[in-house]
Symmetry: C2
Subunit: 449 residues, 2 copies
């Protein structure tokens, strides 16, 4: 954050003015404190960590990168570690334990209070990217037979260390989730009203199962503008919630995954700068190799025509232009469909509308490009009219074909329950290349030889 | 929503069982009511709209597509329209007025209460995608000299029609924003404490200006896990807030824009199915044409070498494979950097680390692909060892070069204050094609002729 003068803070730290430094830090946001700590060397970082009040140190800790977290945990006493784990929300503890070496995990587990220990074990067991793995158990649970006054008293009693108190969850005797009540509703209702009379409760109460994918959580929150989504087990008992700040992170992570898949990479677990060279290599090489090998087809098509290509000047020179334009046209169409599917704006049943729209758009684009190409080749001095027309016709066919393929393949992938994001530019290009060349050579064969 | 049986609701509607239908609808979420209304014909839609209680009808209206909104507005009486506009939040009114024909806007403006009229005019004047254009003015403003008890009374008095009451904004006598206080803080503090003693207030109080881009709002909310972001004018006076549900929509819209830019399209204003064929053509054709014309360079390079290509069998056939692999390698690198820049995980100052990482990854990928290609060509029966080695060396160079270009161009765009998303696959491919061919032909020239 440019607005914050970390430089001044480092001055205080190096000058040993710890009281003044602490005074500045406690006025700051935990995110900025974490960023400041990232700039320090390990000894300074521990010093700053120890200067912070309990809540702020835990909050800032939650925003640090996992290697710095592991560093801190190995440098503090068991007593300090106990306080830290006590101050962290369970989802942040689990996030952190997921990333650090086993020795650090063991130490945290030894030190944690028994019920925390048990909770951590339970949370670590949920599958990666499931609702269970991203939820927290620090929510407000209220009995549906409570009155508003009792509910407010319960919130005042236990709310201080809950991740949110704005949506409260109503449970039955058997701990089954039966409704939700917003804090704003509690404030606007009379103290003696019963929760069960004012809560939102119907059969379509929005909730997810612990094993649902985190994407489902994000989709529901986005659709219904929720501040948190409740997570229930197979018996319908409330076991946790996912709050909007984590949902925003899930949305960005899912988008990143789509961006990576569309460039045919395995999604990486970490940010660019923190991913190792070897795992980057592993994420990228598979599809590069598959696509390179599949270019054998294109090579074979050209090989079969190689002797004839030499007969008409300029035939070979047009190949890259046709291939690139086809690839670009296809990746425009596929990008829009992939994105539309991801946001739920395009559904499988729309396939006919998609094809019809792509057909019209591609005829317009293809015709424009063909005319432009005619002018381009003429201006460059080519006077073989038939040859120019063959290139133009191939151009039009390539654009129409690749837009139809680009519009269809993501839908086909969705139908086959594959990730539509795989059917983006690079994949489309490889398929479109071969067909474009076949059309081009067929036209040349018919009109030029 | 598959979970909801719209079919049953349509049954009630067609059977004329309006009381039962209303009973079902008022239990439903406004989003689902809007989806249900989308399925109906215009006459039925108005009927359902009139069945709904005031708040629910306004909420559901806000979720409808703009053509259906315009339909409804032209079908209802002035009195109903007044009630509707009164029930809508100002940001939803402005969103809707931004999209509908001028005649509908005039009618709404005539009917609206004078202060609403004035507010709408002010909001419509903010530039597109600015914080001002997405904010709402329905927030809780509290004087910093209030006590907690006075604040709670004010929230109870005016909170019912505020978009959020969970973050309240503290203002000074001159209406300048001086701090924020969370509803949860009010609940945990004593009634006689003063807001100015408990509010978050420091010089780095998070806020945006009305003219800041909506992306800034989203970035701040994501970084600091905020439920709403305050918007101030040039004098620091509070004029509105942007709430988290709108911020989630902004995040998705910004991501969609990046996806579209990366496939070299102008971002569209509407969803895929609702964008007309002509505007789709306009969004796509510009870059297709630019890239097609710039393929002239690639064509020229091939033309200069055309006579020699014919001399060695297989030389031409390898061109598509080299070009595609170069393009794919480059688009992997550029995608990661574009995404890293968008999320703030990669900064301009990291350019050296990016190049160093891409160099190592590309050497690994390039070597693997070269070896694989050697095997491929050998297995396909080629026995011209020197020619195979030339293709392999060109492959390695193409991968290294395109990964370095793919890693650099988004950073260069950022440095030049252009959108890094433009430097994605299609743009990289076009640049990489020419260089790959030059390297390939230079190697062939040296070793084969």
């Amino acid at each position: 954050m440019e607005r914050i003068l970390y430089h001044d803070l480092i001055g205080l730290l190096e000058g040993g003015e710890y009281v003044a430094l602490r005074g500045q830090l406690i006025e700051m946001n935990a995110v900025d404190v974490a960023e400041f700590m990232t700039l320090l060397d390990p000894a300074q970082r521990i010093l700053v960590f120890r200067l912070l009040p309990k809540d702020l140190s835990a909050d800032a800790f939650a925003y640090l990168d996992s290697d710095l977290q592991a560093d801190i945990v190995t440098s503090i006493s068991n007593r300090e570690l106990y306080t830290l784990v006590d101050g962290l929300y369970i989802d942040d503890t689990v996030d952190f334990l997921d990333e650090v070496p086993a020795s650090v995990v063991r130490r945290v587990m030894t030190v944690a209070a028994p019920q925390t220990h048990e909770l951590i074990n339970k949370f670590l067991a949920y599958p990666e990217n499931s609702a269970g793995s991203v939820m927290t158990s620090e929510m407000i649970e209220l009995h549906d037979r409570c009155t508003v006054a009792q509910a407010m008293a319960e919130i005042r009693r236990s709310g201080e260390d809950r991740e949110t108190i704005y949506t409260c969850y109503c449970i039955s005797d058997s701990r089954r989730l039966v409704g939700t009540v917003e804090l704003r509703d509690l404030i606007f209702h009379e103290p003696d009203e019963f929760l069960r009379d004012i809560m939102d409760a119907d059969e379509s109460l929005i909730r997810v199962n612990t094993h649902d994918d985190q994407e489902t959580v994000a989709d529901l929150a986005r659709r219904y503008d929720l501040l948190s989504v409740p997570v229930t087990d197979n018996e319908g008992r409330l076991v946790g919630i996912v709050t909007i700040d984590d949902i925003v992170d899930i949305i960005e992570a899912e988008n990143t995954e789509d961006f990576e898949r569309m460039a045919l990479m395995q999604p990486s677990e970490d940010t660019y700068l923190r991913t190792g060279v070897l795992s980057m290599y592993k994420n990228r090489i598979l599809w590069l190799a598959i696509l390179m090998v599949s270019a054998t087809f294109t090579g074979k098509i050209i090989e079969g025509f190689e002797s004839k290509l030499a007969l008409v000047a300029g035939l070979t020179a047009a190949i890259p232009m046709l291939m690139d334009t086809g690839g670009n046209s296809g990746s425009q169409a596929s990008t829009l469909i992939i994105r539309g599917l991801a946001l739920g704006e395009v559904k499988l049943r729309d396939w006919f509308r998609v094809l019809w729209k792509e057909l019209r758009v591609s005829l317009l684009c293809g015709t424009t490009l063909a005319v432009l190409n005619f002018a381009r080749m003429w201006l460059l001095g080519s006077r073989n009219l038939l040859m120019i027309l063959v290139v133009c016709a191939a151009m039009l066919s390539a654009v129409v074909f690749s837009k139809l393929v680009g519009g269809s393949l993501p839908l086909a992938a969705k139908f086959l329950r594959l990730d539509p994001a795989l059917m983006a530019g690079p994949m489309i290009t490889t398929i479109v290349d071969a067909v474009t060349l076949l059309i081009y050579f067929a036209l040349a064969q018919t009109f030029l030889f």
